[in-house]
């Protein structure tokens, strides 16, 4: 392994073929990583040249995060060689990695909530003089970096007070504070707005020009097309292929990723709009994340709500379910007005909500699948009588639902902690299917799950709608909302700015309605003032 390590790096320089010319900044060979019970990476090769954007692509659990964690020194590989800048690296720690110019930006933020932006940026590498912190110098440098990035960030704000998008910016600024030679970006645009994203892309171009090597993890096809020089596809911990991004089609990538031909990602749903399942009028939440929204969802159709992160679309359905306090407006569920809504009342009326953050709001991780699935249904006679659980009946009911959702493996006594993202989502869905539900509220149902699981979620939605349920689908993924919905409401800055149906449902129209929305909101505000 030792001689294999220094060998290729030198050899490449000597016999560089025309197309793949250039020295390697990073060269990984035969990387294997095992966790108890799984091989997370199986003899994977990966390399990165200075000044290139190398996209890592694969389903959840394919090994992308394991690979970038090994590169960033979070944990070592079990086997294989790690050559950085021509030198073999062993026992890399995250701290050393930063010192040699490797800066990771992970999806889980490494920020301390009660410290300010500046304090977080310099955490672990504070500037001092005579043993005292040089606060002014640090603030100045932080302001420079933030200005350079074009982010709208107050360096004195505490992280706790920032939105997720702003926290993401801090994380990126932190990575770029020191001298960077290898930048790792793990789905960096997941919570950024359109304009913030384009600023990030400008920055990536600039860094590329300076010879920084960038490893970019993303699922978003548009970004991959725009940024990537090369793409490495992983599946089940194995390297499938590393290919040049030119001329690659979306279908080709998805096929490589899933290992099967995917004809249609989105099923054809036969919408048959019937009675009004949900009618919302003049809805305003107490914290004004939703303002004066009118909204109708009918049984037998999927009603989409599109919008950017933070536009209030999640809060809208959370308010309908009883998780956000209201300050004005009325809500009717199948013709019955709802007052002082709580989740309990909503469930009783046949309304079910699937939260977007399954770890924070969805699942009790230390409890088994069975208990998580039946959690919302213990008031039903099938599950408990006189507050005494009926475990045999519970087990049978949950097993049936889990089998219907094709949870693999179908053992309902497993602790949820040990499940993958897709399986966790299925446990959530199972909870919704334990009771008779006529109105389903989906909040970002496919965030963080792989293509295979996505298709199964879509299939379930199709079944539910065609069986006569009303579905409200909130999603930041435009293709998802546009393909699955019968009608789409577009939300922007707390308001509904457009309602699209039929042929009007295009990405262009949604984007255009943001700008029109901006104008009409300004007009409204001026009129009020």
């Amino acid at each position: 392994m030792m001689d294999g390590a220094s060998g290729p790096a030198v050899a490449v320089e000597r016999t560089a073929p025309a197309a793949t010319a250039g020295p390697r900044l990073l060269e990984l060979t035969g990387i294997t990583k095992r966790f108890p019970g799984v091989v997370a990476l199986d003899r994977v090769d990966f390399d990165l040249r200075p000044g290139e954007v190398h996209v890592l692509f694969g389903e959840n659990g394919a090994g992308k995060s394991t690979l970038i964690n090994i590169i960033a020194g979070t944990f070592p590989a079990d086997e294989g060689s790690y050559v950085y800048d021509g030198r073999e690296i062993r026992r890399l720690t995250p701290h050393q990695a930063r010192e040699i110019g490797i800066s990771p930006v992970f999806q889980e933020f490494s920020l301390v909530p009660d410290l300010t932006v500046v304090e977080n940026l310099f955490l672990g590498r504070e500037r001092t003089s005579f043993g005292f912190l040089s606060a002014a110098a640090m603030r100045q440098r932080a302001e420079e970096v933030i200005a350079e990035l074009g982010f709208d960030l107050n360096p004195r704000a505490k992280i706790r007070e920032l939105s997720r998008a702003h926290q993401q910016m801090v994380e990126i600024a932190k990575a770029l504070l020191a001298e960077v030679r290898l930048l790792i970006l793990d789905e960096p645009t997941a919570s950024l707005t359109e304009s913030e994203t384009s600023k990030l892309f400008e920055l990536i171009e600039r860094l590329r020009g300076q010879g920084v090597g960038i490893i970019y993890v993303s699922h978003r096809m548009r970004e991959i097309k725009q940024l990537a020089d090369r793409i490495t596809v992983l599946r089940d911990g194995k390297l499938v292929k590393t290919l040049d991004s030119q001329g690659v089609t979306e279908n080709e990538l998805v096929e490589l990723m899933t290992g099967r031909k995917i004809d249609v990602l989105f099923p054809k749903i036969d919408h048959r709009p019937g009675e009004v399942g949900l009618k919302v009028q003049g809805l305003t939440t107490a914290n004004h994340t939703v303002e004066d929204v009118d909204f109708v969802a009918r049984a037998g159709e999927v009603t989409g709500v599109a919008g950017l992160v933070g536009c209030g679309k999640s809060e809208l359905i959370r308010a309908i379910y009883g998780l956000e306090p209201l300050s004005a407006g009325t809500i009717e569920v199948f013709g019955q007005p709802m007052h002082h809504i709580t989740p309990r009342k909503s469930l009783d009326r046949g309304v079910c909500y699937f939260p977007s953050d399954r770890v924070v709001e969805g699942l009790a991780l230390t409890r088994p699948i069975r208990e998580n699935a039946s959690m919302a249904a213990l008031d039903l006679p099938q599950f408990a009588r006189l507050k005494i659980l009926r475990q045999v009946s519970e087990r049978r009911a949950i097993q049936e639902i889990v089998d219907r959702l094709r949870l693999r493996p179908p053992n309902i006594e497993r602790v949820v902690q040990n499940l993958s993202g897709g399986n966790r989502q299925k446990v959530m869905l199972a909870r919704g299917l334990t009771r008779e539900t006529r109105l389903f509220l989906f909040d970002e149902p496919t965030v963080g799950i792989d293509v295979g699981a996505k298709i199964e979620v879509y299939e379930l939605m199709k079944q539910l709608v065609e069986a006569g349920a009303a579905i409200v689908l909130v999603s930041s993924e435009l293709p998802e909302v546009l393909h699955l919905s019968n009608r789409v409401y577009v939300m922007h800055r707390a308001h509904v700015v457009a309602e699209l149906s039929g042929a009007e449902m295009t990405e262009q129209n949604v984007l255009a309605s943001f700008f029109e929305g901006d104008r009409s909101i300004e007009r409204k505000k001026r009129a009020q003032a």
Binding site: L323, L363, T366, L378, L389, N418
Partner: protein, 342 residues
């Protein structure tokens, strides 16, 4: 390395250290330690099996097991109750005072005296439990601070009522025919403790309440989204905890024959947390089983009894208890880290 053949016989399955540790993690450290202590003690110390000693150990572990089961319920919802020891003291004082007063006014009404005293004692648990639960659930004050406050309140009231002097005057029937009595050769306390543990096990496994307590501790927001009235259930957990402490207080008072404001105290509180955690309850909530916690209370009692019998210095005893507590928590943590993160 460790994959060597331990038995030395050819053809037998080979056990690695890994497998041994895994087996130990599966069974848990507790039963192994318990059996080990009993075996060692029966070899080195004949007095260990003396009838008087066995009864004493059983009684001690019963007092602790009842309190620890309550503590566990609070730990499961992600809380902590520092006030249990003080509730025992308050219960003891209030019950004895009440019995004294009723007995003074109506000397003939023994039944009423006992009933009134027990109700007053349980009332202490109910009151403190409601206060704890309401502050934690409605005001969202940290359980540590709330129960530290009620610890001082309960201790203070107990001392104010009794001036720190033991309260006598409880009916003889209550003391001799209940507190100190043996039924079929076993202290009455043990029956009560068995009953309590059995009920808590039932509650945890068979009732909606038990399931909701696990759900709330596992993920409070998920429970809310699932329509669980979390505040109410958190209050119930604290009330049950305090009332179990009261039950233990009543039993100890009946055994002692006098109400004492120094009963229970901080040591009992700390032991109850130790017993719950050694018995597998998680300080992060969501995990814990009454039968294991009771077993752990028995273990702690046997351990301290053994050390007394072997005349181990009381200062040294503290060191050993501390080591065992740290080891138990560390092993629990290691076990968790072995799980695959999905």
């Amino acid at each position: 390395m460790s994959g060597q053949n331990l038995t030395g016989l050819p053809g037998r399955p080979q056990y690695s250290m890994e497998q041994l540790t895994r087996a130990m993690l599966a069974v848990g450290l507790l039963p192994i330690l318990l059996i080990l202590t009993v075996v060692v003690m029966s070899i080195v110390e004949p007095k260990f099996y003396g009838i008087f000693n066995v009864l004493n150990v059983l009684r001690q572990s019963s007092f602790l097991a009842i309190v620890a089961c309550g503590q566990m319920l609070v730990l499961i919802v992600g809380g902590l109750d520092l006030s249990v020891g003080a509730v025992v003291a308050l219960t003891s004082s209030v019950m004895a005072k009440t019995m004294q007063a009723i007995g003074f006014v109506m000397p003939e009404a023994v039944g009423l005296t006992i009933f009134g005293g027990i109700m007053a004692g349980l009332g202490c648990g109910l009151g403190i439990g409601l206060l704890n639960g309401a502050c934690v659930a409605f005001l969202r004050i940290s359980p540590f601070m709330v129960t530290l406050g009620t610890l001082w309140i309960a201790t203070g009231i107990g001392l104010l009522l009794t001036n720190g002097i033991p309260v006598y005057g409880m009916p003889d029937v209550f003391i001799n025919d209940f507190g100190r009595a043996l039924w079929f050769g076993i202290p009455t306390t043990v029956y009560v403790a068995l009953g309590v543990v059995f009920l808590v096990v039932l509650l945890q496994r068979k009732t909606v309440l038990g399931r909701y307590l696990y759900a709330i501790g596992g993920n409070m927001q998920a429970a809310t989204v699932s329509g669980v009235a979390t505040t109410g259930y958190i209050i119930i957990a604290y009330v049950l905890c305090s009332m179990l402490a009261s039950v233990s207080g009543i039993l100890q008072t009946a055994r002692l024959g006098s109400g004492q404001a120094t009963m229970g105290g901080d040591l009992l509180m700390l032991e109850s947390i130790a017993a719950a955690v050694i018995g597998g309850a998680s300080l992060r909530g969501g995990i814990g089983r009454a039968e294991m916690v009771a077993l752990s209370a028995v273990f702690l009692s046997i351990l301290s009894n053994s050390m007394n019998l072997m005349r181990i210095d009381s200062k040294m005893q503290l060191v050993i208890l501390g080591l065992i507590l740290v080891a138990a928590v560390a092993i629990d943590e290691l076990g968790k880290r072995r799980q695959i993160r999905g």
